[in-house]
């Protein structure tokens, strides 16, 4: 679940009739620290899987996809081997489709290889309630029978609603539920930065 989708919905609806605005609270990651975090995760993936032979990367749309691409490049530097990369759209597996006013747009899932017996590393930007990851696991299992599924996230902000944890974390960011974690990546947002935004009444 990416940070930037939420403010839009919030600003439209507001809460209790009051107009809500978002105030910048802190920057927790910049270009350099993001790069360091991803490099470290790449090394951890190699170590944990004793190489990358049966590892495949699956980026969750939207911001998990470019992050997975970067991990693929770093892994290629370490192991000199291009590991397969797929992109997953989890819209059709969401558990809140019948509760949302704004219908999410469906995008294409592009996993051009068989997942059976692979060690799948799912990549996303923010781990929050865990519901996106639950949806992603359901989607993956419809595509094949992986040997195992691991989870890599850039930010873990806590507040899990499901028994899910990440195997690789770029940074733990303790946050309150009323805050928003906004991840920006160059490929989509023209900058590499992670901010915490606070909801305030206007």
């Amino acid at each position: 679940m990416s940070g930037v989708l939420q403010p839009t919905a919030l600003q439209q609806s507001g809460e209790g009739g009051d107009k809500m605005a978002l105030k910048h609270k802190a920057t927790v990651m910049d270009e350099k620290t993001m790069q360091q975090a991803l490099r470290r995760i790449a090394h951890e993936i190699v170590e944990h899987n004793r190489g990358t032979e049966s590892v495949v990367l699956i980026g969750i749309r939207k911001r998990g996809a470019p992050l997975a691409e970067r991990l693929q490049a770093y892994l290629n530097e370490i192991e000199d081997f291009e590991i397969p990369l797929g992109i997953l759209d989890i819209t059709l597996y969401r558990d809140d489709l019948t509760q949302r006013q704004d219908q999410p747009e469906v995008h294409t899932t592009d996993v051009p290889f068989d997942l059976t017996d692979k060690h799948v590393v799912v990549v996303d930007d923010v781990l929050f309630t865990g519901r996106t990851v639950r949806a992603a696991m359901d989607a993956l299992i419809d595509l094949g029978r992986p040997a195992g599924i691991q989870l890599a996230v850039l930010i873990d902000r806590g507040h899990r609603e499901l028994p899910i944890r990440a195997d690789y974390v770029g940074k733990n960011v303790p946050s309150s539920r009323s805050e928003l974690v906004e991840v920006k990546v160059k490929e989509i947002d023209q900058a590499d930065q992670v901010d915490i935004l606070e909801k305030v009444k206007e």
Binding site: Q99, Q103, V106, H107, T108, T109, D142, L143
Partner: protein, 309 residues
């Protein structure tokens, strides 16, 4: 635009280019699901759909039913001849009764033009028109556009010749509305007696000579000669019709080299299209059938996938 803000899909006359774009984009994502080993997503779990077919159908009905299954919706299908229609129950009563059983979407094919509009006004469920008389067949129009869009990468500025019995064809009407909204140039070909009296509202050029009409065309769409809807005297005989208006390899030499041949099916081989052409590499008749499932999955998602306002 993210959402299709409407309850029903009744015709392409009232749908905007923006909405058509959203439907085509969504269908492209659905197409990927059809290529998986496990062709099923849980999206419409617990949603119920009724397929109500008062006219025979193979492709459309199978395609809607598969789309419902792939999206995990529950569905029941009722055929006209086995339903209470033959006992004199009105359409409104039939659907109100199944609606109370929990149906949220009705797919209907009916011999009377305008019947799906009537139904949509009288029930809360979403209505998708699967062909109403000689009026429209919007899902066919959309799947035809999707097939062309996937093959050519665009619809804008393409030249499309629709050949045959335009007068009785709901497929032609839906395509005429839809394709022109998407910026394609459409021409129609056929005997003047098989042109609709209101052809002028579409603003398309009518040709009687196929060879002239297909000059530089990107797509030739042959229509089925609807034997069941012919009043006598519109054309002398099937044989004569085939000789003058049948789409054959010799008649389309002036079209572009990468011409696509389309037909909504079922084909009367040797009448509106030669058998050889229907099976040629240029023919996308089978792709059209596959596109149909993707388009219908997309529509089910867009109509049933969120909260109704």
């Amino acid at each position: 635009m993210q959402t299709l803000r409407r309850k029903d899909i009744l015709g392409l006359e009232e749908i905007s280019a923006e909405e058509i774009n959203l439907i085509l984009e969504t269908a492209r994502s659905m197409r990927e699901i059809m290529q998986r080993k496990i062709k099923k997503v849980p999206t419409l779990r617990g949603r119920s759909v009724l397929n109500l077919f008062y006219e025979p159908s193979t492709r459309t009905k199978a395609s809607f039913e598969l789309a419902q299954k792939y999206m995990s919706a529950d569905s029941v299908s009722v055929a006209g001849t086995s339903s209470s229609l033959v006992k004199g129950e009105t359409l409104k009563d039939t659907v109100r009764n199944v609606e109370i059983m929990g149906i949220e979407c009705v797919i209907m094919r009916h011999p009377v033009s305008g019947s799906s509009h009537y139904l949509a006004k009288n029930v809360e469920a979403s209505v998708i028109n699967a062909g109403d008389g000689m009026h429209e067949h919007p899902t066919q129009g959309l799947l035809d556009m999707f097939t062309i869009w996937e093959k050519k990468g665009r619809l804008e500025k393409l030249k499309i010749a629709i050949v045959g019995d335009i007068r009785h064809s709901r497929v032609a009407r839906s395509n005429l509305w839809g394709l022109q909204k998407m910026g394609a140039e459409v021409v129609v070909v056929g005997p003047p007696t098989l042109m609709p009296p209101d052809l002028a509202v579409f603003g398309v050029k009518h040709f009687v000579d196929i060879e002239e009409a297909v000059e530089n065309a990107d797509v030739v769409m042959a229509l089925r000669l609807q034997k069941e809807r012919q009043e006598s005297g519109l054309f002398p005989s099937m044989r004569e019709y085939a000789e003058l208006y049948g789409v054959t390899a010799q008649r389309i030499t002036r079209a572009k080299d990468d011409l696509l041949i389309m037909h909504p099916g079922p084909i009367n081989r040797g009448i509106e299209i030669s058998s050889e052409l229907a099976d040629s590499p240029q023919s996308v008749v089978l792709e059209q059938a596959a596109s149909g499932v993707a388009i219908r999955m997309a529509l089910l998602y867009l109509l049933l996938g969120g909260i109704k306002e």
